[in-house]
Amino acid sequence: MAEVRAGVVVFPGSNCDHDVYNVLKNIMNVNTIFLWHKSSNLENSNVIVLPGGFSFGDYLRCGAIAKFSPIMNEVIRFANKGGIVLGICNGFQVLCETGLLPGALLRNEDLKFICKTVTLKVENNKSIFTSEYRIKQEIKIPVAHGEGNYFCNDDTLTGLIGNNQILFRYVDNPNGSRDDIAGIQNLNRNVLGLMPHPERASDEILGNSEGRKLFQSVIESVIQN
């Protein structure tokens, strides 16, 4: 039985790092540490989280500068060896910029920053990130982004659908994302990026804990390995 050791990467401008740390450490009771972006050591973490926020002020493009932080070389190596990586919001943008996930996140179609709770549909529950959900289950999770409009070309979209890489879709698309995509995994099924914030829906005291099963799924998959 393996033990979960989660590492939450902190970039200058990350602002959901403490939220996800709190959920992992105090609600899921998992060993959790922060990893400063200038470090080149994942410190034996076996789950890496790239949190939400505005890394490097979102200058140039969201996630474009974070991609070159020293820790990202290690995260890419870790992911390519099958390590579990979860990118939330800005973390999803960073994963797309690094090429660990296909596509890109554009400005929201209506140009507004959207901050509200949306309904997602779990499109695939045979993944290490969604195994605790039911297929087609609808869950309410908050979004908070200005650039969450997922874009990819036709071939990539065909691949995402054919390989069951789309894990979450918006029931009522808030931002213009192609094919209502809210979250995708990579072909090797060890990297997930999603725009909604499950860490903001994991503590009952906040009135909604429907995001908790995402973390529970990841923990179960590590423990069973």
Binding site: R61, A64, F68, E97, G103, R107, E109, G176
Partner: protein, 87 residues
């Protein structure tokens, strides 16, 4: 010293909502002849290189690695030597 002037724009096939919003505003001001508006970024680099060709190569590499994302953006640039900039 060379100067590179770079334009990065969202690919033509992708909707540019910012451009569309500005276009509507231009139309409402009476600019009926403006048919399309697209908004991009302008980036200027000062490059210490041995030749214009080298400066162009560096600019191209910088665009590919960081300044533009080929998934959604196109870029074009021109490199000027000091005479062209100051003259």
């Amino acid at each position: 010293m060379y100067t590179a002037k770079i334009h990065v724009s969202i690919r033509k096939t992708i909707l540019d909502p910012q451009g569309k919003a500005v276009e509507h505003s231009l139309k409402s001001l009476g600019f009926d002849s403006i048919e399309d508006t697209r908004i991009g970024k302008f980036i200027e680099l000062k490059i210490n290189a041995k030749s214009k060709e080298e400066a162009q190569r560096i600019t191209e590499e910088a665009c590919r690695k960081l300044l533009a994302n080929p998934v959604m953006e196109d870029f074009e640039f021109r490199v000027f030597d000091e005479g062209e900039i100051n003259g």
